[in-house]
């Protein structure tokens, strides 16, 4: 038996907003991503120059040296708007919860020997500070950037980094029986351990970069592609018998990197493809930050794995990736 539900068809006068129709080349039904994103940021007739930076408007294309004829070219292949972003992360987080429960129930971290625990504390946990620094950078790219197509995913990314910093913190609390002692030790390593100082110096240097797209390149191709990939992708061997529980507890990060990488690659590729001048600038930034990240990664890789090979591997992978985006390094 089929049930026929009657609905009335009322002929709409138009299918979408005017600015969306002009983007689509005519009045056609638009997606929620498009209506939530395209041309959303104000572009004209601002009233006051910011007291804190009177050389620019608060939305100003001159806040980066790269030039786009249209900042709505670098779209998000994931088509995230707020709802789809949050629902996707809420789903991913269900897996995080399952993994934590699994590891906790079997006490997989608690029963590790003291030396390995200490290695996780000084070798893995400080990465939460790098996520926090990355959060600052993506918040900066959001506030300073131009055009909702790029800036909205930047605040999503900032939220992701905070979330990941908190997942790493929870690993720390599993290691120290919820006392916070491991997190304090890890912070001390972040501040003082020579293995981490190159990384900390690098992220602090990004904090003072005021060209937002330069910052974006430093973050996605330097920090994400070299430093985060070193720790989450190339350092399995460092954790010995803890490798599997660590892989489970950081599954979110692995999935996130694959997914966010598609977006950040698309953005870099599109902006570089705009002009030779953009390509030259971005290539220079990518080279600088991948090289710097490699140098920063070497002592860390040596502390974790005994030599710097993994740092080179991560940096080479980042270079290959950058070339595949049309950059010349």
């Amino acid at each position: 038996m089929t049930v026929q539900i009657k609905t009335i068809d009322l002929e709409p006068k138009r299918h979408t907003f005017g600015h969306i129709a002009r983007r689509l080349g005519g009045d056609k039904p638009a997606t929620r991503y498009q209506e939530a994103t395209l041309d959303l940021q104000a572009t004209d007739n601002f009233h006051y120059k910011p007291l804190w930076e009177p050389e620019y408007w608060h939305y100003d294309t001159r806040k980066t040296a790269v030039v786009m004829e249209d900042w709505y070219k670098p779209l998000d292949p994931r088509q995230f708007y707020y709802a789809t972003y949050n629902i996707s992360r809420a789903n991913a987080n269900q897996a995080v919860e399952r993994n934590f429960t699994f590891v906790e129930e079997r006490d997989l971290l608690g029963k590790l020997d003291a030396a390995l625990k200490a290695k996780l504390i000084s070798g893995l946990l400080p990465i939460r500070h790098l996520h926090w620094g990355s959060n600052m950078n993506m918040a900066e790219a959001c506030q300073r950037g131009y055009g909702t197509a790029v800036t909205a995913p930047c605040i999503f990314s900032a939220g992701d980094h905070l979330g990941m910093a908190q997942i790493v913190s929870r690993i720390g609390l599993l290691l120290d029986e919820q006392t916070g002692a491991a997190l304090d030790t890890a912070k001390d390593a972040w501040m003082n351990d020579p293995a981490w100082q190159g990384v900390r110096r690098l992220i602090e240097d990004t904090f003072v970069e005021r060209d937002w797209f330069h910052l974006y390149v430093a973050q996605t191709l330097g920090v994400n592609a070299v430093l985060l990939d070193l720790v989450y992708k190339h350092a399995d061997a460092a954790w010995g018998p803890a490798a599997v529980p660590v892989a489970m507890l950081t599954e979110f990060m692995a999935d996130w990197r694959a997914e966010e990488g598609k977006w950040s690659d698309a953005v870099v590729k599109t902006v570089a493809a705009e002009s030779e001048a953009n390509k030259a600038l971005i290539s220079g930034w990518a080279k600088t930050w991948i090289d710097r990240a490699e140098a920063a990664a070497r002592p860390l890789a040596t502390a974790l794995l005994g030599d710097a090979a993994a740092a080179t591997a991560a940096a080479d992978a980042a270079r290959t990736r950058a070339r595949s985006l049309g950059l010349s390094l």
Binding site: P12, R14, T16, H58, Y82, I87, A139, I155, L173, M191
Partner: protein
Amino acid sequence: MAPKKLGLKQRYAHMTRGLDWETSYQPMDAVYPFDSFEGIKIKDWSAWEDPFRLTMDAYWKFQGEKERKLYAVLDAFAQNNGQTGISDARYANVLKLFLTGVSPLEYQAHRGFAFAGRHLRGVGPRVACQMQSLDELRHVQTQIHTISHYNKYFDGISEFRHMHDRVWYLSVPKSFFDDARSAGPFEYMIAIGFAFEYVLTNLLFVPFMSGAAYNGDMSTVTFGFSAQSDESRHMTLGIEVIKFLLEQHPDNLPIVQKWVDKWFWRGHRVLGLVAMMMDYMLPKPVMSWKEAWEIYFTEAGGSLFTDLARYGLKVPKYADVATAEAEHISHQNWAIFYQYTHAAGFHTWMPDKAHLDWLSEKYPNTFDKYYRPRWEMWAEMEKQGKRFYNNALPQLCQTCQIPMGYTEPGDPTTIAFRCSEVDGETYHFCSDGCKDIFDGEPEKYAQSWLPVHQIFQGNCGGATVPDVLNWYRMNVGADNMDYVGSPDEKLWNEWHAGKVRDAV
């Protein structure tokens, strides 16, 4: 002895402020270059009390759940042609005002809180600001998705983005937020976090959302309910910020007081548009603006400022003037839009007899005396085919950018004019409140992009009204003018004739 497990508060501290560190390879002043020029003194950022303890996993979970529910309602509303069930098509004009005037401010709030969420030196408020930045993006995007369905049937909605940057009265909300966005991060937090989100928010959202509920707009109501828990977080952040600044150093008090005075008056002027909406644009009115002002400002604001008095903070300057204006402001604004209906992106009308009686009852001190006779005269002129239009371009207040049509405090028959002279230029204001704000920062307000000045300077598409409307992308005869005779009205009548046919 086994070490003590963390309590919830300490656990949350590890999850947030424990992440932050004092930089040493770069000076902190270079990492946070924008948080000192305003003169605010913070002795100890760690004294900040987190107003709510939300980790990202919990945030995603709550927000994701709310979005699932909201979009299910939006889909059902569209499928069932919910737009045909509103009280009257006049109601759609409320949504036009909201999407052109308010939603773009949500976007500005999103970017502004990203700024505060990066550039305040204290990690506690920074995390809270970032979540608010996400929330405000939510608000603008869900508002667009909610009203998108109305846009398919009603005029005046389609060009909301283009209009917000250009149309004369939309420069009132736009300049309000540009003002906050171009201020430093602390002033931004007082302007938006405290004055707007805490003191005045109920006067913005309650009218729109209850208006939607009373008028059968189930999709907007659902949005409103769904945003409530976001708003309560925003309010908590706003109140925490002001208390924190006042606790940190006595030198902060005069700076904060000046901001509170300024942003109260700025907000009051923007809310005049809401007042008009409440009193005139809702086919089924909820309460009068005056009643809303009494409940949400006089009473709620009164106890708030009593509470803040222990820090030395006073009730905002000119709060008494604003309260007196609550008797007039909606009527004076509706009069402006009625006269300039040809340049408005929504429809206007003269209230019918039942509505006039409702206004008489709600405004016993002023309506019959000052406004009802004028409305009856204009209605009479309409009947005689001499509908009243004002074709002269109005003079705008340099600060709030509203046409100079407000009356003197205590004398509702005389238009108020104030002016200041700076570098040989004369600037005009609608009120003492607006003049004070200008005098406090003349370099800032001298820059205002005043729509009427811009028209005269030839920056708005041309010298004639049709040129300007064309530049606004206003669909003349559909977006503007009176409701009676509009395509909205025609469509509405067709739907209803259809409903009656189906019923018979």
